[in-house]
């Protein structure tokens, strides 16, 4: 019988050679002196420019701390080891775990009617009395049936418009029908409203079904009213009164607000944040205009270069950090989405920054006309007669919709691990893919990254946040607080 001798120590050659193998990693120059190296696990190292070349070409690296970091962050591995791969594989699995919850956000566009005429509105709104722009009850029934067939056990049913509270009877019917048919899903309800339509009946209904309210606040009065026009009076006055009314009745944490940055907004980063603070909010989502639909009809008010938005974002963000450093918790939500990806193995629920893209994979939209769209932006394109992402009619059934040519086109272009310009981009783990955006802006759902506004905006913000993370412990602690808070 042959006796196999087990070695207790690594062979002698191990200690004479550079002694490591490369694991899959990506890199980019983060500033003029440093490069960012990101391993397959999503862990990163900041190192002096030239470090990657030295590692790849096996040149000696005298910086022991850097070598330890490269090992610890799964960027290189001992020549004779194969351990550690299971850990990275698990991290990859966790990062993609949201795929098991396919299409968990279901957006119901109950009506296109609205009492506002916002110049940047991404959807084509109609005046309040045209009920032909409401979702038909038969179509709503089909849509609810589709939603309940979704594999996800946790569902968010979101009502949008127009102004969904102008179709309150339909909204009530939708919630109650859903609950009567649901057998095994946990369902959250959200109403996206402009915050100017409310009464006791609406409040009672929201309380009964634990409904969340999401509204719009663009900043101080002059700015909000310039962006968001009511036919008569001030939208700002009405929405602030509405926010207070909903808060008093439902609880402070049951209402949130979103801002949209018009060209005018870019001049007032601090004023916008102050308006949020003054109105009792502890967070803000600094959001550029989506370049679709009605927004294109007023280019002077709504068009700006990505770089202009980035300058606005940075000014606002620095101001937010100062507020936090003085002891007041105030979070920027887009940064929190990215920081969660950088600092934890988990993904955020935010559908516009995912790979595979959030369109279809995380969201489905049931439009007022009875058609199903891949995302909110997809239905905005349809208002310009571009039906590239219209998956079919609500009566077509789940399987047919999700295997339609339009759906396959989304899937094909939705994985940034396989898109040129993304596949070897160091920050792709912290970013996402957006075939709808690239189709709308570049005429090609695949997209061309060097000229993509999506890429420019996200890469710049991600690089900026990584630099901030390295800047000081106090900023890092603020970031951890943001991603830990609800």
């Amino acid at each position: 019988m042959e006796v196999v001798k087990r070695q207790k120590f690594k062979p002698k050659e191990h200690y004479n050679s550079p002694g490591y193998k490369l694991l899959p990693f990506k890199y980019l120059h983060i500033d003029s002196t440093n490069e960012l190296i990101v391993g397959a696990s999503g862990d990163y190292v900041i190192a002096p420019i030239g470090s990657v070349e030295a590692i790849v070409k096996r040149r000696p690296i005298s910086n022991e701390k850097l070598m330890r970091d490269l090992h610890a962050k799964h960027i290189i591995i001992d020549e004779y080891e194969s351990g550690g791969l299971d850990v990275i594989a698990n991290r990859i699995r966790t990062k993609k775990d949201h795929l098991l919850q396919l299409s968990s956000l279901h957006i119901f566009v109950l009506t296109l009617r609205c009492n506002h005429t916002c110049h940047y509105c991404q959807v084509s709104r109609v005046t309040q009395d045209k009920q032909s722009f409401d979702l038909k009850k038969t179509d709503l029934d089909h849509a609810i049936e589709l939603m309940l067939k979704s594999p996800s056990k946790f569902i968010t049913m979101e009502f949008q418009g127009g102004e969904p509270l102008l179709a309150f009877d339909l909204l009530k019917y939708a919630v109650e029908t859903t609950l009567s048919l649901n057998t095994d899903k946990r369902i959250n309800f959200v109403i996206c409203t402009n915050g100017t339509i409310y009464n006791e009946e609406i409040i009672k209904f929201c309380l009964k079904y634990d409904i969340l309210i999401s509204t719009s606040l663009d900043g101080p009065e002059f700015l909000h009213d310039s962006n968001r026009k009511l036919r008569k009076g001030s939208s700002y006055h009405d929405v602030i009164a509405g926010i207070q009314y909903f808060r008093n009745a439902l609880g402070k944490d049951r209402i949130s607000a979103l801002m949209t940055a018009s060209s005018l907004s870019l001049k007032y980063p601090q004023e916008i944040i102050n308006a949020y603070l003054e109105n009792g909010f502890h967070n803000i989502f600094l959001r550029p205009i989506s370049p679709y639909g009605f927004a294109l009809k007023s280019p002077k008010k709504n068009y700006y270069e990505t770089q202009q938005f980035l300058e606005f974002y940075e000014k606002a963000f620095e101001y937010i950090l100062q507020i936090n450093l003085k002891g007041t918790f105030f979070r920027e939500d887009f940064a929190s989405v990215i920081l969660k990806k950088i600092l934890t193995p988990f993904q955020s629920n935010y559908v516009d920054l995912q790979s595979p893209a959030g369109a279809i994979n995380s969201v489905l939209v049931y439009n007022y006309d009875g058609y199903v769209y891949a995302s909110d932006e997809s239905r905005m394109l349809a208002e310009q007669n571009d039906y590239s992402f219209r998956l079919g009619h609500v009566s077509d059934g789940y399987k047919k919709l999700l295997t339609s040519d339009e759906a396959l086109s989304v899937f094909k272009n939705s994985l940034n691990e396989a898109l040129n310009g993304c596949s070897d981009c160091a920050v792709s783990d912290f970013c996402g893919a957006d075939p709808v955006f690239h189709h709308a802006i570049q005429g090609d759902a695949y997209g061309h990254r060097p000229t993509s506004g999506f890429c420019e905006k996200n890469m710049s913000i991600i690089k900026y946040l990584i630099r901030k993370l390295e800047e000081s412990t106090s900023v890092r602690n603020i970031f951890y607080e943001w991603i830990s808070a609800k």
């Binding site: 490369l22 990693f25 790849v56 698990n90 990859i92 993609k96 060097p450």
Partner: protein
């Protein structure tokens, strides 16, 4: 034969030449320069569209890193596949695949 055509106005000559030099390590190719265009002739007709797209991106943005990135990708290709197999693995076929790649 596959031809990739570049507009001289859109791309700097130095960038095109560097990228083509990098690519020549991977594919057999030749370059012809006319008054207004660079034409790259690739002997393999089956070259994938994504390689061409990659080349164009390399020329536009980050030609200096092009070769190094390909080197990393080539050296870590098997581990990447193994990781993918492991990440997908919940027993059964993917475990076999992982073993096969690691051999």
């Amino acid at each position: 034969m596959r031809i990739i055509d570049f507009d001289k106005q859109a791309y700097k000559k130095q960038s095109v030449l560097k990228a083509i030099y990098s690519l020549s390590n991977i594919y057999s190719l030749k370059l012809e320069i006319t008054d207004d265009r660079y034409c790259v002739f690739l002997e393999s007709a089956s070259i994938k569209e994504n390689i061409i797209s990659e080349l164009k991106i390399a020329i536009t943005t980050r030609v200096n890193d092009f070769e190094l990135r390909y080197h990393i990708a080539a050296e870590t290709k098997e581990v990447k596949l193994l990781l993918l197999a492991k990440a997908l693995s919940s027993g059964g076929i993917y475990d076999d695949l992982a073993d096969e790649i690691w051999k």
